[in-house]
Symmetry: C2
DNA sequence: TTCGATGCAAAGGATTTGCAGATGC
DNA sequence: GCATCTGCAAATCCTTTGCATCGAA
């Protein structure tokens, strides 16, 4: 059983309907090594002969995000990107060619969170951390 | 000489024109303890009896950002916020009441940057780091 | 059958652009 | 006077909403 099958089965067992767009979106996001925009997703669906309305895709990513199957990331581009909820990680984005690589380094960030809780009195803290620079090719 | 005067004088010496909107925007951003949206800025200008067009404000923040007088921050709200370029820092945002507090912790992030450079081959790395949680009042 | 998924059109909000006119220096 | 700032209208881009219909289970 593939990871995609697992996720879809899980959704089904939670009582959600399984549609072709839903299934393919999960597969596309599993196969992508970079967070995708709504437009990216639509283009990839079209290559699979699916032509859902843009609204449907917006609603579908909202659905998958609410169930924590995928995560929303924002690099300050004025649009959102989506990726499968893997082990929590961050990204390095090339400011020139927009290449995105994953980076993980959470233990340390967690220790920050604790310090922030102490200092500010905030609770149940999440965070976003993104790095920007020039990739080896663009330097 | 106030900080605002310093900034304005500096702009003038760089050969830029000084307008009332420009001057007041710098003052407003210096006085704010939280990053402001375009709409926030317009409202604050109106309290000072200035009614610039929204486009003007967009162009003005672009101007000030390009000169690194102010910085753009993005909390994934679908709109940008602006704050005076102070010592580099981060924010804790209350997901409920949207209260924003500053946090600084850069030495550690810098050590991350170094690790990222080593691991990924990226260069001249900047970053964004924002924390989200519930402020003491909203808990 | 039923509830959720879908399409379509329209609206909403943030941001950008083109161009003519006004203004700082 | 000239470069730049400004206003206004329009356009663009991303996202959301309302409503009628369709389809998975």
């Amino acid at each position: 059983m593939t990871k995609a099958d697992e996720i879809i089965l899980d959704l089904k067992q939670q009582g959600h309907k399984i549609t072709e767009v839903r299934t393919e979106l999960v597969k596309i996001l599993l196969e992508s090594d970079t967070p995708l925009t709504i437009i990216d997703l639509i283009k990839k669906l079209e290559r699979k002969k699916l032509k859902p309305n843009k609204t449907t895709v917006y609603r579908e990513v909202e659905f998958l995000r609410d169930l924590e199957v995928i995560e929303e990331v924002d690099f300050g581009e004025g649009k959102k990107r989506y990726e499968i909820s893997n082990q929590h990680h961050h990204h390095v984005v090339c400011v020139n060619c927009k290449t995105i690589k994953d980076v993980s380094m959470d233990k340390d960030i967690d220790s920050y969170s604790k310090r922030i809780i102490e200092k500010t009195g905030f609770k149940s803290i999440g965070h976003t951390l993104e790095f920007f620079g020039l990739c080896p090719v663009c330097q």
